[in-house]
Symmetry: C2
Subunit: 417 residues, 2 copies
């Protein structure tokens, strides 16, 4: 396996084979710049842009990844190949010590930002185990999956403004709930605050025009890369508001993504068979290419004055619908997608109880408290709790990691009229 001149500690998320993209700044230079992660450092792409092909240099000097995303697959491959060359042992970069000093920066000295201007954010509902679990809780075993679920990659439009980068605190929301059917609704702090373990991809390529569809077999070209995500959810508020137009204020209070976008090329060694779909999907959703990934996903909860407990071990591969199907369906009526759009998987739950991707499922609607280290338990998230999501692929000694998606819950701001 090829090795970088930049030290990559054993078990690092960011070997030379990963090269995830992010946007960073430093105290001494608060301008936002592109970078890739390598070991415990970043490579400042703005500082080495002149070493890349002319047609990508502007994109590498941008303050967001949108321009690079728009250039499409061939450009992404060219940039990645060149970055790999530059970071190899004995590269021309290594031999330019002054430049190395400028562009290789310890991660502990950088602040990470949202990697792109997110034009639109869409959240799918693509995990069959999650949809089934929620269905059983709310409608019983017989009617767990809605009739459309195996035919449509069900999704909804989310709120782009409230997507934030890992580390941003999340405020417990106030909102309307209906504790007792038939009684008037109440207003107050959310009592059933939850996380949702998700992954998301950023859309790349030039995008399609309004009125045109993206054919399912071509849709992989629109996937720039993947990130991990926590779709914070106010369950009690959601239950009262969501009929008939879907979740609204229960979901637009904050959605956290990790700062790193892992290129699809880095994930290719971890491709696995697509989830078997039964019944057959309609032709506009059918594709031969395998576009499913073996990505381990871990969720930990850390109480304010306690230690972390691992509360969920899941995997991206449990998703029923592929990203290619999600894109084909999203554009089937002619919706235009743009570079920088974010499309999330929905909660990723696995088959076993320890792989459920939300407190709602882990505590089975509050009936089975989740055990934490230090003799603590949780039904839902409490103030001061931090949720940490991590993800990695591992095979034959190669580890491709996703970094962390963290968020701490702050107490609600009391309401004053």
């Amino acid at each position: 396996m090829s090795v970088s001149f930049v030290d990559v500690p054993k078990g690092s998320d960011f070997p030379l084979q990963n090269l995830p993209y992010g946007v960073f700044s430093t105290q001494s230079n608060p301008g936002k710049r592109l970078c890739v992660a390598i070991g415990n450092n970043v490579l400042d792409l703005s500082g080495v842009a002149h070493l890349y092909p002319a047609q990508v240099q502007d994109a590498l000097k941008s303050s967001t990844l949108n321009l690079l995303m728009s250039l499409g697959n061939d450009a992404w491959h060219a940039v990645r190949t060149r970055t790999h060359e530059l970071l190899l042992k004995n590269s021309e970069l290594e031999h330019d010590a002054a430049l190395v000093k400028k562009v290789i920066i310890p991660q502990k000295e950088v602040e990470m930002h949202l990697p792109a201007d997110i034009g639109d954010y869409t959240d799918f509902y693509s995990s069959i185990h999650h949809a089934t679990n929620v269905g059983i809780m709310f409608r019983g075993k017989e009617n767990a999956l809605m009739p459309n679920w195996r035919h449509i990659p069900v999704g909804y439009h989310g709120r782009a403004s409230s997507v934030v980068v890992s580390g941003t605190p999340i405020r417990r929301p106030l909102g309307q709930t209906l504790p007792v059917d038939g009684q008037p609704p109440l207003f107050g702090a959310c009592k059933l605050f939850d996380f949702e373990l998700e992954m998301a991809f950023f859309v790349g390529g030039p995008g399609n025009k309004l009125g045109e569809r993206v054919p399912v077999e071509e849709a992989w070209k629109n996937v720039f890369g993947f990130t991990i995500m926590n779709d914070w959810s106010a369950r009690d508020i959601q239950k009262w508001e969501y009929i008939p137009l879907g979740p609204f204020t229960a979901k637009n209070l904050g959605t956290t993504i990790s700062p790193w976008i892992i290129p699809v090329e880095a994930l290719e060694p971890f491709i696995v068979n697509n989830y078997a779909q039964d019944p057959q999907v309609l032709p506009y959703l059918k594709h031969d290419k395998s576009f499913n990934f073996d990505i381990n996903l871990l969720v930990s909860l850390k109480p304010e004055h306690g230690e972390e407990t691992l509360i969920c071990k899941s995997n991206y591969k449990y998703l029923y619908w592929t990203a290619m199907q999600q894109i084909a369906h999203h554009t089937v009526t002619g919706c235009n997608i743009r570079p920088g759009d974010l499309m999330a998987s929905g909660t990723i739950s696995g088959e076993t109880e320890d792989s459920f991707g939300s407190m709602l499922e882990l505590s089975w609607r509050g009936t089975k408290p989740v055990k934490l280290n230090g003799n603590l338990t949780r039904k839902f998230i409490e103030d001061g709790d931090e949720i940490i999501i991590r993800g990695y692929c591992e095979r034959n000694g190669l580890r491709i990691g996703f970094g962390e998606c963290r968020g701490k819950v702050l107490p609600a701001i009391p309401f004053k009229k």
Copy 2:
């Protein structure tokens, strides 16, 4: 009433008392610039920016309205007051003939564009007559309104990328439908294509931070101005996809807005009482200020080779929820709003059958064909049909118009695997 040196024909939508904002370009200068409409002309704000207070000049030289929107209410008032002065008879502008020749441009020579970069687009469901009509059709008279409807200004996140300016053709979509319950779904062109008569406002002011609420009494400060809108809808696709997460591909195929944003100040003479709400709403939604407007809304349908027929006469004042309540609810859980966000009313239906704001209601789900001039009828929209929405306020000889929101439906593009 004060009069402009620019001719304003009788019955014009755009007297000196209106001064709606838009973004335009010309053949000779394809750069996008801000303007206001005056009679049959526009005033190019980029060309007169130097005549305004220093702190708004950058905003007036911008290519979208976002910066002006962000400056807040005092700045909007200052710009409007100055524009009014400049366009008055005997103004310093009138006396500068060379400048007038440059900055007063006939509307027939300009192309209008989307007035702002829309960060997020939200669609509410605030007409009680529309919600009741749809409820009766799908659930019967007894359960017409959902239990949450009178407590929550129900809304959902829409798709910002597919909002287009008046005149943009709209493609009939293909999509998934379930013609027969229990049978497999089908794929094909939408058979129940519809318009929705809506109004929308653009968000202004600096916006709130994630985790903070906008108090309902303050929310009027976040309304920059109003526009008219057609929320194209594929009813058959919507019916199959929308449970449980709301409308998705049935609505993201295109949403048309008129090019003009009418400032709230221009609408003040037409303020009427808020709609009486029963039961009382929760305190976070309660406000004293009247923020309802008497705005006549007209919808016409023009077949490809036929003449226009007026098919709907409605009014903004029928809305149950105010824009202030919509904003307070949108931000109640801490969702941040940004200048340039678009928030729509939902279909605005009135009390009588000729005031229903969609073909679904006008034809009562296809059971009562709508009569058109030339012995034609329609249940839903056919290929080649153009939908034209117009709006105006009128009182004591003052007419404030909204211009037009037009869109022609093109035939579906056949599917090839």
